[in-house]
């Protein structure tokens, strides 16, 4: 029982650490948006092209954040190690 408690608490800490990559993802996305706005202000006639390129850039920058989120979700709700441990304990 104690082992199970340790595994579950470590899984929660791991989920929190996995979500920390949101910090860097947000920095990256902020940079994309800032640059896009700057170039839109410089060239308002190219605003539409810049906007669509910005959305694509935002989506690519978001990928790592999504990976972290998925790892956190797997750790919390579908942790394979916990199930294995439960079957080991019996």
């Amino acid at each position: 029982m104690e082992t199970l408690g340790i595994v579950i608490s470590v899984a929660h800490i791991a989920a929190a650490i996995a979500l920390l990559n949101g910090v860097f993802t947000t920095f990256g996305q902020a940079r994309v948006a800032a640059q896009a706005i700057e170039s839109m202000a410089r060239q308002p006639e190219a605003a539409d092209d810049i906007r669509s390129a910005m959305f694509v850039g935002l989506a690519f920058a978001e990928t790592s954040g999504i990976y972290g989120l998925l790892i956190a979700i797997i750790m919390l709700f579908a942790n394979p190690l916990v199930n294995r441990l439960i079957s080991l304990i019996g």
Binding site: F55, V56, L58, A59, I66, Y67, L69, L70, A78
Partner: protein
């Protein structure tokens, strides 16, 4: 809490193999029925379409025309015949994101659905790449040297995975936040306030992620099939 394990409705046996009819599949059928119904209505109205569009015809023509122009602007004139498939994908993803407003679990919050869509984009990308650039596309796999083949292969196979995870993660996070809200708050705040959460997570994020899924699929197709990219 039922967040990741999609509820199982029925188990049917087909030739000794268990087939699980999950909530995702039922919701997908509902959305497909709505889309097919809409398509049939449009088909019957098509006979009465006039030269100068008004009302219902106007909406349909505007939707198709805007999407066609969007596809032509993204992949160019030569490849614009893939527009109908991506219009269908667009309609399906958007409607499944909007379906969680009426209380259905969005089918795109299940990785199987998004991976199927992403795999279809991947197949289109590969087939069109081979069709239009032939050897040059396949040579891209061994680009600087044949020793880089495993890395290029992984990079190429990561495309559908990243594409599907992006949509899945966004839809699932919205579903989780709304499920948590409904589970944790008392009954008297579950009236009215969730509308804003739904508007944000389903309508805004759903629409944005639909757009991003389609435009990134189109970009992959263009990168694969266009010489001058």
């Amino acid at each position: 809490m039922n967040l990741l394990d999609i509820r199982n409705r029925w188990v049917i046996q087909i030739a000794g193999v268990e087939v699980w009819i999950t909530e995702t599949i039922v919701n997908t059928w509902i959305i497909m029925a709505v889309l097919i119904g809409l398509a049939v209505i449009v088909r019957f109205k098509l006979r009465k379409f006039k030269e100068v569009p008004t009302g219902f015809q106007n909406i349909i023509e505007a939707a198709v025309e805007i999407f066609d122009n969007f596809v032509v602007g993204t992949v160019g004139k030569k490849l614009s015949y893939i527009a109908p498939w991506f219009f269908a994908v667009f309609a399906f993803i958007l409607l499944s994101a909007l379906s969680s407003i009426v209380g259905l679990r969005a089918p795109t919050a299940d990785w199987a659905t998004t991976f199927a869509l992403a795999l279809a984009s991947f197949v289109i990308m590969f087939v069109l790449g081979v069709k239009y650039r032939k050897g040059a596309y396949l040579k891209g796999f061994v680009d600087p040297h044949w020793i880089f083949f495993p890395m290029n292969l992984i990079g190429e196979l990561a495309k559908p995975v990243a594409l599907s995870f992006r949509l899945f993660g966004n839809m699932l996070s919205g579903t989780i936040i709304l499920t948590l809200y409904y589970a944790l708050t008392p009954k008297f705040v579950q009236f009215g306030i969730p509308a804003f959460l739904h508007a944000f997570f389903d309508v805004v994020f759903g629409g944005l992620q639909t757009y991003i899924f389609v435009i990134i699929s189109l970009m992959y197709v263009r990168i694969a099939a266009d010489d001058n990219w």
